[in-house]
C-alpha cells in the first residue's frame, strides 16, 4: 500500500505541488515570524548583556508601578544626587556615578525633526568610566562641555552628520544647538533598538533633560576582589528609603525583558495572521483531497477489491497528506528564513526599524513549523480519507459511482449546529473581551458556513452565471459546470470565503474606527488648531511650545499632558488640560459635579463609563499612585461624558505638573479669536524652531487621525493578502483538476467545433462564478463579523458604525478579476488539449 501511495504522489507531482503551496506559504509565514522574533530577542538579550557586563550594581528608586505601554518597564522617579555620595562611602565600592535620560530629538540638516517611527528619541548622559558606560565612542571624543553632544552611529550615518558639525536638538525646554563632538555605539549596536541617542556630559544632561540635582540611576563598581554579595548588602543598608540596589545582570535582564515583551506582542500579531493563512490553506487541502478521492474512486475501490482493508485505504490517503505536509513544511521552513528578512523589510517599509543581528534558527522553530504544517495537512485530509473509506469495492465495477458522502440533510444539521455554536462563542467572547473565544467562534462560523454553503451553491451559481450565459455557449457551459457539483463549488470557494470575510471584517471595523475618530474629534475639541508631534514615538514635545503658540489672533492656548498613574490599583492613562482655557478648547460635557472649578480645586474628573463600572460618584474618594509622589487619595470632582481626547481621567495642568517628573505636552490646542485671520500662518511662523511639530486645523487633524487608521488597515490588509493568495491557489488547483477530469468532455466539445478561445472562456466563466460565490458569502459573513466587533467596542470609542459599501463592492469585483486570473493557466491548458487524445482519454 505504501508503494501505491508513494507512486501516486510521484505521478501527481504538479497537483501536489499546487496543493502543498498553500501549506508552504503558511509555514513560511510562521517560521519567518519565529526566526525574526528569535533573532530580535537574541539581539537585544546579548546587547543588554554586553552593555551591563561590567556594571556590578545599580542604585535606583523603587518602582512605583509598571507601565502599561508595550515594552514599557517599571515607572521610577529619579534619586537625589546625594545618594551617589552615600553609595561611594560604602566600603567595597570602587566607583559610583549617576546617569540621566530623557527626551531629546535631533533636527536633520534639512530642518526636519528626526523621528524613529516607534522607538524613543533619547537624551542620555555619558559616563566617562569606560567600564561602566554602555556607550563606546567610535569617532571624535565624548561630549565634555555644555556645548558638546555625541550622536549614535545609526543616526549619524543615516543623516550624514560628521564630527565638528553643529546640530540642533529639540528638548523639554527651548531647542538648543550643540557641536557634534563624537559618534557613539550602544554596546556593539549602532543604536538602541532604533532609538536615536543624544549624548551629553552628565551636568549638561541633567540641565537639558530637566533633572538638575537628580539621577535616574547610579551605576556602581565594586572594588576588585570584594565580596559582591556583602557589598550589595552594605549598599542596601546605606540607602535612604524608596531606593534599592540591584545587580547589573538584573538590569540587563529587565531591559531585555521589557523589549522582548514588546516583541512578543509583535510576534503574536504576526503568528495570528500566519495561522489565518494556514487555516485557509487547510480548506484548500481539504478541497483538493476531496476532489482527488472522488477522481480516484475506481482506483480506491479496485484496491479494496484486491484486498486492501478500509484501514489501509484510510492510511493511504492520510499518508499522502503526511508526505505532502512534510515536504511542504520543510520547504516552508527554508523559505521562512528568507521571509524573516522580507518581513523585516516590510516593517521597515511601515517605518518600524529593527536592529540587525545574525539570524537565529532555534530547534523550536523547526518543531513548530513541522507540527503545525503536517498537522493542518493531515487534519484537513481526514474527512476526504473517511470518504475514501466509504467507497464500496463494487464501485470499481460500475462505470458511474454516485459519491456517497454523508447526506446533505445531515451536513446541514451539523453545519448549522457548528455555525450556531460559533456565533454563540463569538457573542460571549466579544462581550467578555475573551479574544481566544472570539477566535474559536470565528473558526467555527467559517467551518459551519463552509458545510452549509453547498446548499446555496447551485442556485447562487445559477444566478451569478446568468449574465455570463448571455455571452454565448462558453458562458453557459461555464455556468453549468459550476452548478454541476454544488459541493465542489462550495468547497473550492470556501477558502476565498474565509479570506474575503476577514478582509471585509477589517473593512467594516476600519471604516467605523475611522469615522469614530473623526466624529469624536468634533465632539471632543472646540479648538481651531491642534499642535502635535508630527511623528509618533516621541512621547511629547517641549513645554516651551505653548508660550510660543500664543500668537496674535490666538484667543485661547491650552496644553494637554498625558501620563500614567495608578488608579484603584490599575495602571491607567491620565490627561491634564490647562484649566484656564478649558471651555474654549475642549468640549467637556459634565454630567455631574463641576468641570473647571473642580479641576482648579485639584480634584479628579472621570468619565461616565468609569463612574459606572467602578461605582463612583461625585465626592467619592479614590486611591491613586504617582511615580513621583507615591500613593494618595483624590476626590472625584466631576463626571463627564466620554471624550476621545481626554480619555477616562482628567486633572488640571497644575496638578499634573506637580505630580510628574518629566511632564511632556502631547498636544497644544489653540482657539482663534473671533474674526481673526492668518492665525494658522502665525502659528507656523511662531513654531518654526520646533520642526518636530505640526500645526493642523481641526479638519486636518481629523484627516491625520483617519490616515493613521488607514495605515494600520493597510498593514492588516497586506498581512491578509497572503490568505487570499492561498485561496486563489486553491481555485487554480481545483480548475486544473476539473480540466483534467473533463479531458474527454472538452475533447468532445472541441471535436464538435468549439474553438480554443471558447474553451478558455468556458473555464474562465466557471472561475469567475466560483470566486464570486466565495466572495459574496465571505463579504456577508465579514460584514456581520465587522459589525459585531465594532459594536462590542462601543465603550472603547467606536461610536459610529459604518459599512463601507463601496469598498465591499470593490472587493467583490476584485475577487471576480482574481478568479479570472486564477483561471488563466487551467484555461490555457484546457485549450491546448489535443482533440484526438482527449477524446480517447478515459
Amino acid at each position: 500500500m505504501w508503494k501505491v501511495t508513494v507512486k501516486g504522489i510521484l505521478t501527481h507531482k504538479l497537483r501536489l505541488a499546487l496543493t502543498g503551496l498553500a501549506i508552504v506559504l503558511g509555514v513560511t509565514f510562521i517560521s519567518g515570524t519565529l526566526v525574526l522574533t528569535d533573532t530580535l530577542h537574541n539581539t537585544f538579550t546579548s546587547l543588554f548583556g554586553n552593555v551591563y557586563q561590567h556594571v556590578d550594581f545599580q542604585v535606583r528608586s523603587k518602582a512605583a508601578f509598571t507601565s502599561n505601554s508595550a515594552g514599557g518597564g517599571a515607572v521610577r522617579t529619579p534619586v537625589p544626587e546625594s545618594v551617589a555620595g552615600t553609595v561611594r562611602a560604602v566600603p567595597g565600592v570602587a566607583y559610583a556615578e549617576g546617569s540621566v535620560s530623557g527626551y531629546a530629538q535631533f533636527v536633520a540638516p534639512d530642518g526636519k525633526a528626526i523621528s524613529t517611527g516607534g522607538a524613543p528619541t533619547l537624551g542620555v548622559s555619558f559616563d566617562p568610566n569606560p567600564e561602566l558606560s554602555s556607550l563606546r565612542v567610535v569617532a571624535g571624543h565624548a561630549p565634555g562641555s555644555t556645548h558638546e553632544i555625541a550622536m549614535d552611529e545609526g543616526t549619524a550615518t543615516k543623516y550624514h552628520f560628521h564630527v565638528g558639525e553643529r546640530v540642533a536638538v529639540l528638548l523639554t525646554g527651548r531647542p538648543q544647538t550643540f557641536t557634534l563632538s563624537g559618534i557613539v555605539r550602544f554596546g556593539s549596536a549602532e543604536n538602541l533598538a532604533g532609538a536615536t541617542l543624544a549624548v551629553f556630559d552628565l551636568p549638561t544632561a541633567q540641565s537639558v533633560l530637566g533633572k538638575v540635582g537628580q539621577y535616574d540611576a547610579i551605576d556602581v563598581l565594586a572594588t576588585p576582589g570584594a565580596d559582591k554579595a556583602a557589598v550589595e548588602r552594605a549598599i542596601a543598608r546605606a540607602l535612604p528609603p524608596g531606593t534599592e540596589v540591584v545587580t547589573g545582570q538584573t538590569v540587563a535582564q529587565e531591559q531585555s525583558n521589557s523589549i522582548n515583551q514588546g516583541l512578543s506582542f509583535f510576534s503574536t500579531a504576526l503568528l495570528v495572521f500566519a495561522f489565518i493563512s494556514l487555516f485557509v490553506g487547510g480548506f484548500t487541502i481539504f478541497n483538493t483531497f476531496s476532489i482527488t478521492v472522488g477522481q480516484r474512486t475506481r482506483e480506491l475501490a479496485l484496491l479494496r477489491i484486491v484486498g486492501a482493508s478500509r484501514r489501509q485505504v484510510f492510511r493511504s490517503v492520510l499518508l499522502e497528506a503526511a508526505v505532502l505536509g512534510v515536504v511542504a513544511s520543510i520547504v516552508g521552513l527554508g523559505l521562512g528564513v528568507l521571509a524573516a528578512i522580507g518581513l523585516e523589510a516590510l516593517l521597515k517599509g511601515f517605518g518600524i526599524t529593527l536592529p540587525a543581528g545574525p539570524l537565529v534558527f532555534l530547534p523550536r522553530t523547526v518543531v513548530v513549523a513541522l507540527v503545525v504544517g503536517i498537522g493542518v495537512t493531515v487534519v484537513s485530509a481526514i474527512s476526504p480519507a473517511r470518504r475514501a473509506v466509504a467507497i464500496p469495492p463494487v464501485a470499481a465495477l460500475s462505470d458511474q459511482h454516485e459519491e456517497q458522502g454523508e447526506s446533505s440533510r445531515r451536513r446541514i444539521a451539523v453545519g448549522g449546529v457548528i455555525a450556531a455554536v460559533g456565533v454563540a462563542a463569538l457573542v460571549v467572547g466579544l462581550s467578555e473581551q475573551a479574544i481566544a473565544l472570539v477566535g474559536i467562534g470565528a473558526v467555527a462560523i467559517f467551518l459551519g458556513i463552509g458545510m452549509l454553503a453547498p446548499v446555496v451553491a447551485r442556485p447562487m451559481a445559477s444566478v451569478l452565471g446568468r449574465p455570463l450565459a448571455l455571452f454565448g455557449i462558453s458562458g453557459r457551459l461555464g455556468r453549468e459546470n459550476s452548478m454541476r457539483s454544488p459541493r465542489r463549488t462550495a468547497q473550492t470557494s470556501a477558502a476565498l470565503m474565509v479570506g474575503l470575510a476577514l478582509v471585509s471584517t477589517i473593512a467594516v471595523f476600519g471604516a467605523s474606527l475611522s469615522k469614530s475618530a473623526t466624529s469624536s474629534v468634533d465632539e471632543a475639541i472646540s479648538a481651531d488648531y491642534i499642535i502635535t508631534a508630527s511623528a509618533s514615538g516621541t512621547g511629547g514635545f517641549s513645554q516651551s511650545v505653548a508660550p510660543a503658540a500664543a500668537v496674535k489672533g490666538a484667543a485661547a492656548v491650552s496644553t494637554v499632558y498625558g501620563g500614567e498613574f495608578e488608579f484603584d490599583d490599575v495602571v491607567s492613562n491620565l490627561t491634564a488640560v490647562s484649566t484656564e482655557h478649558l471651555a474654549d478648547t475642549v468640549i467637556l460635557r459634565v454630567e455631574q459635579g463641576s468641570g473647571a472649578p473642580a479641576l482648579a480645586a485639584g480634584d479628579l474628573l472621570i468619565d461616565t463609563t468609569t463612574a459606572a463600572t467602578k461605582h463612583l460618584s461625585v465626592g467619592s474618594s479614590v486611591a491613586v499612585t504617582f511615580a513621583k509622589t507615591g500613593s494618595s487619595t483624590m476626590k472625584v470632582g466631576g463626571i463627564f461624558k466620554p471624550n476621545a481626547l481626554i480619555g477616562s481621567y482628567l486633572v488640571s495642568d497644575a496638578y499634573f505638573l506637580s505630580h510628574f517628573d518629566d511632564p511632556l505636552p502631547v498636544a497644544v490646542l489653540v482657539r482663534s479669536a473671533p474674526g481673526a485671520t492668518g492665525v494658522g500662518a502665525a502659528l507656523d511662523r511662531g513654531l518654526r524652531s520646533y520642526p518636530n511639530l505640526q500645526v493642523q486645523t481641526r479638519a486636518q487633524f481629523e484627516q491625520s487621525q483617519q490616515a493613521q487608521v488607514n495605515q494600520l488597515l493597510g498593514l492588516v490588509y497586506a498581512l491578509l493578502a497572503l490568505a487570499v493568495v492561498i485561496a486563489l491557489i486553491g481555485i487554480v488547483n481545483t480548475l486544473m483538476l476539473s480540466v483534467f477530469e473533463r479531458t474527454h468532455e472538452i475533447g468532445l466539445l472541441r471535436a464538435v467545433g468549439m474553438r480554443r478561445r471558447q474553451v478558455r472562456a468556458m473555464i474562465r466563466s466557471e472561475a469567475v462564478i466560483l470566486a464570486l460565490f466565495g466572495a459574496i458569502i465571505g463579504v456577508v459573513i465579514g460584514t456581520g463579523l465587522g459589525v459585531a466587533f465594532a459594536d462590542s467596542l462601543q465603550q472603547q470609542g467606536i461610536t459610529d458604525l459604518v459599512i463601507p459599501v463601496a469598498s465591499l463592492v470593490v472587493f467583490l469585483v476584485l475577487s471576480g478579476l482574481l478568479g479570472l486570473g486564477a483561471a488563466s493557466w487551467p484555461a490555457r491548458r484546457a485549450a491546448r488539449l489535443d482533440v484526438l487524445a482527449a477524446i480517447s482519454a478515459e
Binding site: I305, G307, R310
Partner: protein
C-alpha cells in the same frame, strides 16, 4: 455446516465427472501453444442437465456456492428482483461460465458470491466460509486471500508497473512474495518482458494478462472473471480464455466467468444460464454451437 438442498438442478454431476481436476500443478506443463488456444472441438460431449435430478455433491468439493440467493433492489411496487432465489455450486478446479442476457442477474450473482454486494435473502459460501456473514474486515481478508478478480476493463492501478500490480495483493497482505510462483505465472502468461511497464504502456491483451497474474498470485480458492474478454480483440481474447481454461485444467484453479459471448463460454467446462434472476440452464462440456443453441431457446 449448512446442507445444500437439492431443488432440481444438477450441480454436482459436472463436478463429479471432472476426474482430471486438481491432478497436478503441472509446473512443467506445456505452455500455451497455438493449438491449445484453438476453439475446443467436439472433444467434450455437451450435456444438458435441465431436467435431471441428482443428489447434491459433497460440500467439500465446492469452491463456492449460493443457497436460495435473492437480491432485490428498491421497495414495494418498484422493487426489482435481480436474483430470485438461486442455488448453485461451483466445483473446485472447475471453469464455469455464467451466461445470460443483460439484466439477467449474472453480475449481481457474481457480486454477491464475492461479497461485493449483500444478498437480500439466502447465503453464499466460498469454501466452507459463509460470505454473507462476514464483517467488513472478514470480507477484506476474503477478497485478499481467497478470491481473485479479473475485470472487463483490466482495472490495473495506473501508477504501478506490471510487476507491482501483480504483487499488489501480496503487498496488501504484508506477505512474502513467492518468487517461483510469480515467475511461473509471468512465464505462463508471457509478460516477462513487460514487468517494468506501466499499464498505459501495454496493449489491452497484455494488461489483461497482468490482471490475470494478479488474480492468481495469492493462489485463491476462486477466480471471478467479469467479461474478461469484453475489451479485447479476438486474438487476445482467445489467448486469455485459453489461459483460463489451462489454469483450471492444469493448475486446478476454480474459475467463474461471467460472459455473454458463446465462443468464450465454449472454453469453459460448464455453462450456467441465467434469465430474470433464475438459473434456466446448466450445460457441461459446451461448444460454441451448443451454447448458441441454448441461448436461442432461452431467447424465445
Amino acid at each position: 455446516m449448512p446442507v445444500v438442498l437439492d431443488i432440481g438442478l444438477d450441480i454436482g454431476a459436472g463436478v463429479a465427472r471432472r476426474a482430471h481436476t486438481c491432478s497436478t500443478w503441472c509446473l512443467g506443463a506445456a505452455t500455451m501453444s497455438g493449438s491449445a488456444l484453438q476453439q475446443p472441438g467436439a472433444e467434450g460431449q455437451h450435456h444438458m442437465a435441465l431436467d435431471e435430478t441428482v443428489a447434491p455433491a459433497p460440500v467439500a468439493l465446492a469452491a463456492a456456492r449460493a443457497v436460495g440467493l435473492e437480491k432485490t433492489y428498491g421497495k414495494g411496487d418498484s422493487a426489482v428482483h435481480a436474483l430470485a432465489g438461486i442455488t448453485v455450486e461451483f466445483g473446485r478446479g472447475e471453469f464455469t461460465a455464467v451466461m445470460g442476457p443483460s439484466g439477467s442477474g449474472k453480475s449481481t450473482l457474481m457480486h454477491c458470491m464475492a461479497g461485493l454486494d449483500t444478498p437480500s435473502a439466502g447465503a453464499t459460501f466460498v469454501g466452507d466460509q459463509e460470505v454473507s456473514r462476514l464483517d467488513e474486515a472478514g470480507l477484506t481478508r476474503l477478497r485478499r486471500d481467497r478470491i481473485g478478480f479479473v475485470f472487463q476493463s483490466f482495472n490495473l492501478v495506473p501508477t504501478l508497473t506490471a510487476r507491482e500490480n501483480i504483487l499488489l495483493p501480496v503487498d496488501l497482505a504484508g506477505a512474502k512474495v513467492d518468487e517461483d510462483w510469480f515467475d511461473f505465472l509471468v512465464g505462463q502468461l508471457g509478460i516477462g518482458d513487460r514487468l517494468s511497464h506501466r499499464p498505459t504502456e501495454m496493449s489491452g491483451g497484455q494488461q489483461q494478462r497482468v490482471a490475470c497474474a494478479r488474480a492468481l498470485i495469492r493462489r485463491p480458492d476462486l477466480v471471478f472473471a467479469d467479461e474478461p474478454t469484453g475489451n479485447l480483440d479476438s486474438n487476445a481474447a482467445g489467448e486469455m480464455l485459453g489461459f483460463l481454461r489451462h489454469s483450471a485444467r492444469e493448475l486446478g484453479q476454480s474459475i467463474v466467468m461471467v460472459t455473454h459471448d458463446p465462443r468464450g463460454a465454449a472454453y469453459a467446462g460448464r455453462v450456467v444460464f441465467l434469465a430474470d434472476g433464475t438459473i434456466v440452464g446448466d450445460m457441461s462440456d459446451p461448444t460454441a454451437e451448443s451454447v448458441l443453441e441454448q441461448m436461442k431457446q432461452l431467447g424465445t
